[in-house]
């Protein structure tokens, strides 16, 4: 994004819904009886395109779907998978809920923080490559410990496997 200040004190906003991305949005419309129902999928499109959902993007989505920016923000803040801030190039989510904790997920978290250089949960590594967060039950309890790296679901992760997995994500 370019760096011109606007009246709202933010950055100028390059619209998300143009060209092919606009077509993606419009393809959603016939699937639902209301425009508002397209909100979750529209927010997914924004995040796929931009990596996070900025206040300006929320306003753009609001305009497209005929709801207020505040309404969109209310929805974005409800769902944990929508990023309200930029994150590392690769976003790692590791499950630490009881079934995985019983199977050693704390050691997997430790290995991820060490090998990514993130140091602590929620932080982004100095090179901007990784962000590691812990998440609640990923629904793969029999394959502990599952992690999500971006859209890649990887199960049965052990501390030993962590360096090899991270190698795949530059």
């Amino acid at each position: 994004m370019s760096g011109h200040a606007t009246a709202h004190g933010g950055e100028t906003h390059e619209p998300v819904f143009t060209g092919k991305v606009r077509a993606q949005l419009e393809a959603l419309f016939p699937r639902y009886p209301t425009r508002q129902a397209c909100l979750l999928p529209a927010l997914w499109i924004v995040q796929e395109q931009r990596g996070w959902i900025s206040p300006q993007a929320m306003a753009e989505v609001a305009q497209e779907l005929g709801v207020t920016p505040a309404y969109v923000k209310g929805v974005v803040t409800f769902y944990t998978m929508y990023h309200q801030h930029p994150v590392g190039r690769h976003f790692i989510q590791v499950c630490t809920t009881s079934p995985c904790h019983l199977c050693g997920s704390a050691d997997v978290v430790g290995a991820l923080l060490r090998h990514t250089g993130c140091g602590e949960l929620g932080a982004t590594s100095a090179d901007g490559r990784f962000t590691v967060v812990e998440v609640e039950c990923l629904g793969a309890c029999g394959f502990a410990t599952p992690i999500l790296v971006d859209d890649d679901f990887i199960d049965a992760v052990t501390p030993e496997r962590v360096p090899g997995i991270l190698e795949r994500y530059r």
Binding site: V67, C137, G139
Partner: protein
């Protein structure tokens, strides 16, 4: 079968027959395995007749509540020009449960077929499969299967030449356990925050977009084609104990067992055999301490209760817990049960939608008090305080999330009090660092 383990002779493999068989994922592969016969059969039946077959089979909802499926379908009003909707609940997020993921990963067309039959039976032309946002792989596989089903005429404006329209869409969640609650799920599809709604009205009267709606779990819908092709009597005959619990069920066994996996057994199967035989039992030198059988939202069972329980709705209720979604969290004697209960409480506190005070405050305070105990700073009255808090979190909110947080805490204190007392007496070193 307990994929990735081969099928065990004591399993009754129906839904999981093709787990691990990549050939079953394509439309043609599914047809070669007998798929889509049930949908063709259904399209030639009167919708009410399908509902009657499902009723007669004894199938009950596999998402956790165990409500009779056919009866739920029969609550849908007669066609009146209003659109009817089907929702498939694929928001599998209950700790310990990972069965719907496997159904979608390996047999996506089984679910599509089940959805299409259900939609036809309830007079819905449109259905939404709500898949939790983290299930990236099941979403990809389901989307590819839907595209193929449309291309082959199993969905769309003229399903298999019947003149009937059935459209199915995937709606991707975005990280909220509460959206597994049926009315929260509907709100989430409508583009709203996932807050549960007050009932009544029930979904059959006013559900998705205010219209008559039926919502079923993935495993429930995946069982429907088998019931149609093999008959209600066959399904009803799959029963080892209570006649109120019929059919096969996928039991997700996880935690501290040697062979975690999804095991499919006939309702009424002994829990002891499931844990020790199918799931491989305990690690060497370890013994069973506790089982949380319903996913995490039910009472913790002691080893003795678990080893004598039969795996069906009534058998587990008889031992003071609930079958729920049948995600068995197995805990051995090496575990710190107080910490695990705290970790579950943190889950519920994180996932509370926060609209009801008793849940928002209750889950948060439960976590804080358990944290204090785990830091070695617990007070003698803390257990009474937790019990008091739990009382105010039970049956007092719009949805059962608050109750779900309370029940492991209450059962944990009642059945494993000595574990808490060791922390309170300073006899166990703190599991959490002081602040």
């Amino acid at each position: 079968m307990g994929y990735p383990h081969p099928s065990h002779p004591k399993e009754t493999v129906v839904l999981s027959q093709y787990f691990g068989d990549e050939g079953a994922r394509s439309f043609d592969g599914w047809v070669q395995r007998g798929g889509y016969q049930a949908l063709k059969q259904a399209l030639a039946m009167a919708p009410e007749a399908i509902t009657e077959v499902v009723k007669a089979s004894g199938l009950r909802g596999r998402g956790g509540a165990g409500f009779p499926t056919g009866l739920k379908w029969s609550f849908m009003p007669k066609p009146s020009g209003k659109p009817h909707y089907l929702c498939c609940n694929a928001d599998e997020s209950e700790p310990g449960t990972f069965k719907d993921r496997e159904i979608m990963r390996w047999t996506p067309h089984a679910l599509i077929e089940g959805c299409a039959i259900s939609a036809f039976a309830i007079g819905a032309e449109r259905g939404y499969i709500y898949i939790r946002g983290e299930f990236t792989e099941p979403i990809r596989i389901m989307q590819a299967a839907l595209d193929e089903a449309y291309a082959k005429g199993a969905l769309g404006g003229d399903v298999f030449g019947s003149g009937k329209r059935i459209d199915l869409y995937i709606h991707r969640g975005a990280g909220a356990y509460i959206c597994g609650e049926e009315t929260a799920l509907m709100n989430s599809i409508e583009g709203k925050r996932g807050n549960p709604r007050i009932k009544p009205p029930f979904p059959a009267a006013a559900g998705l977009f205010g219209m008559p709606t039926t919502i079923n779990n993935v495993e429930t819908l995946a069982a429907v084609p088998h019931i149609l092709t093999r008959g209600a009597a066959w399904y009803k005959g799959l029963c080892l104990s209570s006649p109120k619990s019929t059919g096969t069920k996928l039991f997700s066994v996880c935690g501290q067992v040697l062979k975690p996996g999804n095991y499919e057994v006939t309702m009424g199967f002994p829990m002891k055999d499931l844990i020790y035989d199918l799931a491989g039992g305990m690690r060497p030198g370890r013994s069973l301490k506790a089982v949380i059988p319903g996913g995490s939202s039910v009472a913790i069972m002691t080893a003795a209760e678990a080893e004598s329980a039969l795996c069906d709705y009534e058998g587990i209720a008889e031992k003071g817990s609930s079958l729920g979604s049948a995600g068995f969290i197995v805990i051995d004697d090496s575990a710190d049960l107080v910490y695990e209960i705290y970790r579950l409480a943190r889950f519920y506190a994180h996932e509370s939608c926060a609209q009801c005070t008793n849940c928002r405050e209750g889950t948060a305070w439960t976590v804080k008090i358990l944290e204090r105990i785990l830091r070695g700073e617990g007070k003698p009255a803390d257990l009474d305080l937790l019990m008091d808090l739990a009382e105010n979190m039970t049956g007092k909110t719009i949805c059962p999330l608050s109750d779900s947080c309370a029940v492991p805490v209450v059962s944990g204190i009642k059945k494993f009090r000595a574990d808490f007392d060791r922390y309170l007496a300073g006899a166990k070193s703190p599991a959490l660092a002081g602040v």
